[in-house]
């Protein structure tokens, strides 16, 4: 089963750039001056890479959040990172600075994280539930602020904001890929560095503490690292939902192994999932469907199926 998934995934990754609204013939592809070659190198390839990196970051981020919060419903957006990014994108659009919106989005995401940790540092011990509640409260605040932005915006601006919230892999360039590749690499290195401590966290906070691990410091470091990487992803593509929830759960059902063995698979299959969803988005409709719509349309029924099967 696992090998089958792996082979199918690799095949998908290799094939994905060859499909889309414009048919590419293989012979033309080899000619550097041809349109086909340009489309492949400038649009298709970066897009597949972008989808893979974003999917990987969201999925791995989801796994880490679910472990740190002891809550199967947490996603990389649980702490309000996506809402912060969305609000600041809206501000950028309304201020007429739409060209800088990714920068604004990243500032919004990071500001959220900093507010959250400033609040959390005032808690006595490590209290994930309180952190979660602060994140939720912050989310409501941002949602209200976003409504204010909508009220202040023109029709055109409202549409732009709405498009951002649906998620999109349209804006691609190798510069952005570079940023995300760096974010993904940092995230993976962080998990590699903390692998043993993370493993102790899989038992219980108390157990980890007794093995000499500084649970609070470790948890905050992990949440912070994930939030930075996710912030970078969200600011470029918008809040693409569901990947961070479904993939870790899917792998837990499929692998039946402890979470520290699912770190790399989570990243890989999260990437594959988003590449697949993007492929569907690009192939199905005349106008490309927003990617966030596809992830949820494809993901939700499959997720429910897996949950039902897992209960048997």
């Amino acid at each position: 089963m696992k090998t089958l998934f792996l082979l199918a995934s690799l095949l998908l990754l290799v094939a994905a750039p060859f499909f889309g609204q414009i048919d590419l013939s293989l012979t033309k592809l080899m000619q550097p001056q041809s349109m086909a070659h340009q489309v492949f190198m400038q649009i298709r390839l970066p897009r597949v890479l972008l989808a893979f990196l974003v999917g990987g970051i969201l999925s791995l981020g989801g796994l880490v959040f679910q472990v740190v919060f002891r809550n199967p419903m947490s996603t990389p957006y649980t702490l309000g990172v996506a809402s912060g990014a969305t609000l600041f994108t809206a501000i950028a659009i309304i201020a007429g600075l739409g060209a800088y919106s990714p920068l604004f989005a990243f500032v919004g995401a990071m500001m959220t994280v900093l507010i959250l940790f400033a609040v959390a540092s005032r808690f006595g011990g490590y209290d994930p539930t309180a952190l979660l509640l602060v994140g939720i409260a912050l989310g409501f605040f941002y949602a209200a602020a976003l409504m204010v932005m909508y009220a202040l915006s023109t029709l055109q601006e409202s549409y732009e904001i709405l498009r951002f919230t649906m998620g999109s892999l349209d804006i691609v360039g190798f510069g952005q890929i570079g940023i995300l590749a760096a974010a993904a690499a940092l995230l993976l290195l962080m998990m590699r560095y903390y692998k043993n401590a993370f493993k102790a966290l899989l038992v219980s906070y108390e157990f980890a503490f007794l093995q000499g691990i500084r649970v609070k410091k470790l948890s905050y470091t992990l949440l912070f690292g994930v939030s930075v990487a996710v912030g970078a992803a969200v600011s470029l593509t918008g809040p693409i939902g569901f990947v961070g929830l479904i993939i870790p759960h899917m792998l837990a059902t499929l692998y039946r192994q402890s979470a520290e063995k699912l770190l790399m698979p989570s990243f890989f299959y999260g990437g594959v999932f988003l590449v697949l969803c993007d492929l569907i988005a690009r192939s199905l409709a005349d106008a490309t469907l927003p990617i966030g719509v596809v992830t949820s349309f494809v993901g939700a029924p499959f997720f429910i199926y897996l949950l039902l099967r897992g209960r048997k």
Partner: protein, 232 residues
């Protein structure tokens, strides 16, 4: 390196002070809700305080492996978030005493067959034995056991008794229990808690004197010489 707690109080415990010499052992007894587990959590640092010193150093100031090597606490129940983890993987996390192999620790508790099992398949008794194996592999200077026999069948209880009463196993053992027979046979010094206060701290011999038992248990515990029984 003696373990020292000085005038500790919180919601549950009141004015707790005592000293345990390095290498000596202790049984903590007391009624339900007397504060035994809370005391254990204070002594191992899970409840943060500046009242506990080990060898003159504040436990509060010890971190990382340095703290782990000094004190360990084995809870009454194995709480594990990710139950896909195997017994061997779990034990590897507390494997500080590299002279002892995981297989040998399991063998010692007669559960070698569980090594590859995922933790989700363990019964409560088996998890308790796995936790005890983790204590051996951890081998801290002070190991606190919270109700180590609570879920064990009579045969397993003997295995565990043999282990706890072996002078060569672990440096200092602190055992919380309701099992008076176990405390009696171990013969460790006794600390008896009542409503969060230390009511008795002294030798087992003094504790199990019938007059002392009557004062604490109001006639419900009898010392028969080579056994202690609860008269129902």
């Amino acid at each position: 390196m003696p373990l020292h707690i000085t005038d500790y109080s919180d919601e549950i415990l009141h004015n707790i002070s005592f000293r345990l010499e390095a290498g000596s052992h202790l049984c903590i007894l007391g009624a339900n809700g007397a504060g035994k587990t809370t005391l254990a959590k204070v002594l191992c640092g899970l409840i943060d305080t500046k009242a506990v010193t080990i060898d003159g150093k504040l436990l509060h100031d010890l971190h990382g492996t340095a703290r782990a090597k000094v004190v360990n606490y084995i809870p009454a129940k194995l709480e594990i978030f990710d139950t896909h983890m195997s017994v061997e993987e779990l034990l590897a996390l507390s494997h500080f005493d590299t002279a002892l192999h995981i297989g040998d620790a399991l063998e010692r508790l007669q559960i070698a067959h569980l090594q590859e099992h995922p933790c989700r398949t363990l019964s409560s008794g088996e998890s308790q034995l796995v936790l005890t194996a983790s204590a051996l592999l951890h081998n801290a200077r002070y190991t606190l056991f919270d109700e180590p026999t609570a879920n064990l069948d009579p045969m397993r209880m003997r295995t565990l008794f043999a282990l706890l009463s072996d002078e060569h196993v672990l440096k200092s053992k602190i055992v919380i229990t309701h099992n008076l027979e176990l405390a009696f046979k171990l013969g460790f010094d006794i600390l008896y808690l009542e409503e969060g206060r230390i009511r008795f701290y002294g030798s087992a011999e003094r504790f199990f004197a019938q007059s002392q038992l009557d004062a604490l248990y109001h006639g419900s515990v009898k010392n028969l010489g080579d056994h202690v029984v609860v008269s129902l």
